[in-house]
């Protein structure tokens, strides 16, 4: 997981791969060859090494402090809450140990929510990947109005969730909503209780809206990745007489691998943390058909004032996300992080 972004770099060129990070900075070798150069961190020895550490501290400190203060500390406090039974005000007095965790894991609503999250993870990737890829490939061709099209695709992503949710809620209403009207034109019918009112269909509607909102992001990323495909390959395949589709299949798509894998990682994490859109569309209903882990903990926390339970659920969510991330890193990203050729720079 730490190598998430690293693995998109090919080992050629000036990339720093963590696998080889134990070697000294390349400057070292150079600098020792020129005794007159005074370079920071250039010579081994206590002085410059101390200075290097100071520089690192200088650069990292502001972000790190801000982060520790405003993100890490509240998280630690929230974890502390998970060990108590607490209504949200007054002192923390009712220590219950791990009881909140047990209660959450035994709660049907939570386990169902976990399943829903997993469904969304899988569906998001399965739907957005081919669709995004197809649209990106299409938009990669020389088209009039390419810039405009790209912008339009990205518009749903830029919209605030509040706005998007409100609009889609109206569109999905039964009988009078626009979606059902359009379906009627084609001869299909929406479910009698409405998309958002039928427990079986609600999830489908939610996933459709999520696709609408986040597809643009996938397209933009894939488009950018496509810019990195060397022209020579296209020319070569054209010379060989390959069709457009063959070119895409054999060259373009495989070369998009790293981009796709990184996007999938972020999509997965985002799906696990899903809240805003679902909350506005269904609040987790109907009949708990579209709950997610975060809607669960928001209901417990802010609506029912069971902050201990909410905090315990969020720690569990964190553990789940971490597990996914680590597993993903190990099995999927592995390929991209391995350097086939060792770096030569350091041995100058």
């Amino acid at each position: 997981m730490t190598d998430v972004a690293d693995d998109t770099t090919a080992p050629r060129g000036a990339t720093v791969s963590p696998a080889t990070s134990t070697t000294q900075a390349p400057v070292v070798g150079r600098a020792t060859a020129r005794p007159t150069a005074r370079v920071a961190g250039g010579r081994r020895g206590p002085g410059p090494a101390w200075r290097k550490r100071a520089e690192i501290a200088f650069f990292v400190a502001p972000a790190l402090l801000l982060f520790l203060f405003f993100v890490v500390w509240p998280i630690v406090k929230a974890v502390q809450f998970s060990l108590y039974r607490w209504k949200g005000f007054g002192p923390l007095v009712d220590f219950v140990g791990l009881r909140n965790y047990v209660s959450v894991l035994q709660n049907d609503v939570f386990t169902d929510a976990l399943q829903h999250n997993l469904t969304i993870v899988v569906c998001s990737i399965l739907i957005q990947l081919p669709l995004g890829l197809a649209i990106a490939l299409l938009l990669n061709r020389r088209l009039w109005g390419q810039g405009v099209l790209r912008t339009i695709i990205f518009v749903p992503y830029v919209l605030a969730e509040v706005i998007a949710g409100v609009v889609w809620f109206q569109l999905l209403q039964p009988q009078y909503g626009v979606i059902d009207a359009v379906l009627g034109v084609v001869g299909l019918e929406g479910p009698p209780q409405g998309w958002l009112g039928t427990p079986d269909k609600a999830m489908i509607a939610v996933i459709a809206v999520l696709t609408w909102k986040y597809l643009g992001l996938a397209v933009i990323l894939f488009l950018a990745g496509l810019q990195g495909v060397p022209e020579e390959l296209y020319e070569a395949s054209q010379l060989d007489g390959a069709s457009w589709w063959q070119t895409q299949r054999r060259i373009t798509i495989p070369l998009l691998g790293p981009t796709v894998r990184t996007w999938a990682f972020l999509s997965m994490i985002g799906s696990l943390q899903l809240f805003d859109m679902v909350w506005i569309l269904t609040k987790g209903g109907p009949a708990n058909a579209t709950t997610t882990m975060v809607t669960f903990l928001v209901t417990e926390g802010t609506k029912r004032q069971n902050f201990g339970i909410a905090s315990a659920a969020s720690v569990i969510l964190f553990v789940v996300a971490l597990t996914f991330a680590l597993l993903y890193q190990r099995f999927v990203m592995r390929r991209d992080t391995q350097d086939p050729a060792p770096r030569k720079k350091a041995h100058r």
Partner: protein, 297 residues
Amino acid sequence: MSAGTLTPPSTGQPPRATGRRRGVKRPGGGSPLVYGLALVVVALTVGPVLYGVLGGFRSNAQLAETPAGLPSPWVLSNYSGVLTNPDFWRYTLNSTVIALVTTAIVVVFGMMAAYPLARYRFRGREQLFLVFVAGLLFPATVAIIPLFILITKDLQLGNTWWGVALPQAAFALPTTVIILRPFLQALPDELEEAALLDGASRVGFFWRILVPLSGPGMVTVGVLAFVGSWNAYLLPLLLLQGGMKTLPLGVADYSSEYSSDTAGVFAFTSLAMIPALVFFLAMQKRIVNGLQGAVKG
């Protein structure tokens, strides 16, 4: 903070030495089929947004009678009401300032933090990076309560621009660092070596060479931070009141405990999304170029 905010990682492929021109030779061109498909995509994408915009031109009663219809008659009072409402402009100012401050902090601190993480080697580097990434995995909504207490009670920054911008920037840092790191890694080592040989310090290298070259990367994370801040709801809700509110909070002015002025909401939200869209439109070229820039270097 939106739990669903995804970020574009850089494709971080190394610079090609071939100096190829961008965007010129692309496989195929536009054919009617392609344009047709593009049209479908556009319709599906923009349709719902149009519905919201048109909804602002109707009255609540119209919406109640025929939710799916077109405005008839066209009601201008919703939009004009929003535009002439001084609160709307006040909220816009607050949103803008907070978003700009957040973006500035995120870009500056993010660049500074990503630099050693990308180009230095030191013990604990990956662990440090891991700390930032871990912040992404924890649902922010739970951290809100202790965060709120921290800001209002301990720091006395409740109802100020800084009180909202600082934590927002803090939460945006993990994705910023994740994106910027490969950007910075992609720049050739030779640059650094040359600079150091010329007697520049690391700090000087950072400021004079790295930063200018990272324009596209900075724009990318800047835009994401800006949009994220513009649309943020929960944290501003807890921290701001009265004249200090931001645009998303202004939506609440249109609904009371027992009813809501849906047409007004549509008008308000349609207008509220314009600045974010304009900003994105202006920057979008640089984003894609920015992501490509990681390729080009």
